[in-house]
Symmetry: C2
Subunit: 161 residues, 2 copies
Amino acid sequence: MENDIFRELKYLAFTARLKRISDNMLYNAKDLYKELELDIDPNWHLIFMMFKEKDTLTMTEIADAFQISQPAVIKIINKMKQKEYLIFTKDATDSRKQLLQLSAKAKENLPKLEKVWEAGRKSIMEILEGNETILEQLDEIENQISKMNYKQRVLKNLQDD
Amino acid sequence: MENDIFRELKYLAFTARLKRISDNMLYNAKDLYKELELDIDPNWHLIFMMFKEKDTLTMTEIADAFQISQPAVIKIINKMKQKEYLIFTKDATDSRKQLLQLSAKAKENLPKLEKVWEAGRKSIMEILEGNETILEQLDEIENQISKMNYKQRVLKNLQDD
DNA sequence: TATATTTGCATAACTAGTTAAGTAAATTAA
DNA sequence: TTAATTTACTTAACTAGTTATGCAAATATA
């Protein structure tokens, strides 16, 4: 590990390091669910969390909240439907909309799933121990990117020569 | 942005936030290279950096340094070869090994590419301004994960109930 | 009220990673 | 010195995201 090129490169490898960590956590989570014989995907817990606050959601609401593309949401949601965790109904007043709700199966499984997610939350707390300010730093970073994104900044910095 | 579920969820959404940021940067970088009409991929600059220290590399050396899988390295390297940025030769003493070297085309293009990477480095510095300690925090986080990974921690925390 | 624009969802093709499984060469051990 | 193991690379199938494009319904506008 001492000879880790990512650490040497500092700023230049920042994105690659975020990717390396998030990929590692993602594949760990997939592996975990497999071992626990749970037929769910790692990103579903965020969807479940949204349903805690509102029992009916649309694709667009989820895409907005997660800031991912609509096609990405459609894939996640269709898989949840296929595995019978969600029910789709057409909106009576706007037939373009798919109204999404948790199924009975989802609600039945919720207590078991919440135990796993709580253990996950604790695990992240352990991993971040002593470095909790990273969460506020991520806020700040996303804030900076929303003001001017990476591409725009590079183009600006190229001109400044 | 005030209503961002990821920020509310704190620890539970940590991984998703890392992914969101790194994906955003990745697609920005791809878009940037396209606009600048450079036929290179965002992750190539790390490979080029490795060639600064050693002019001949193998697939395995790259996989170890980046901590990504061999198949991932093969894909990156084959594309660099296909675009004529790399030359492959078989190791004379160990015919399993592919020796990789930068091509003449790569060396010619290097000054132009390095300008872009330097502007990229500056851009990351801007984005991280005031939050530079995130780099050490990422070190610490990777260190924690290497001691006990996410999956192992969740399994442990599930037992502790 | 006909037309133009916007919104919500869907599909296709692509990308950068993964795991699983396999082959051939090199090395180690009986 | 044969057999077993390890190493270096490869291929196939999968995953979770992206952009580009399209369509139909709803809304705004002339």
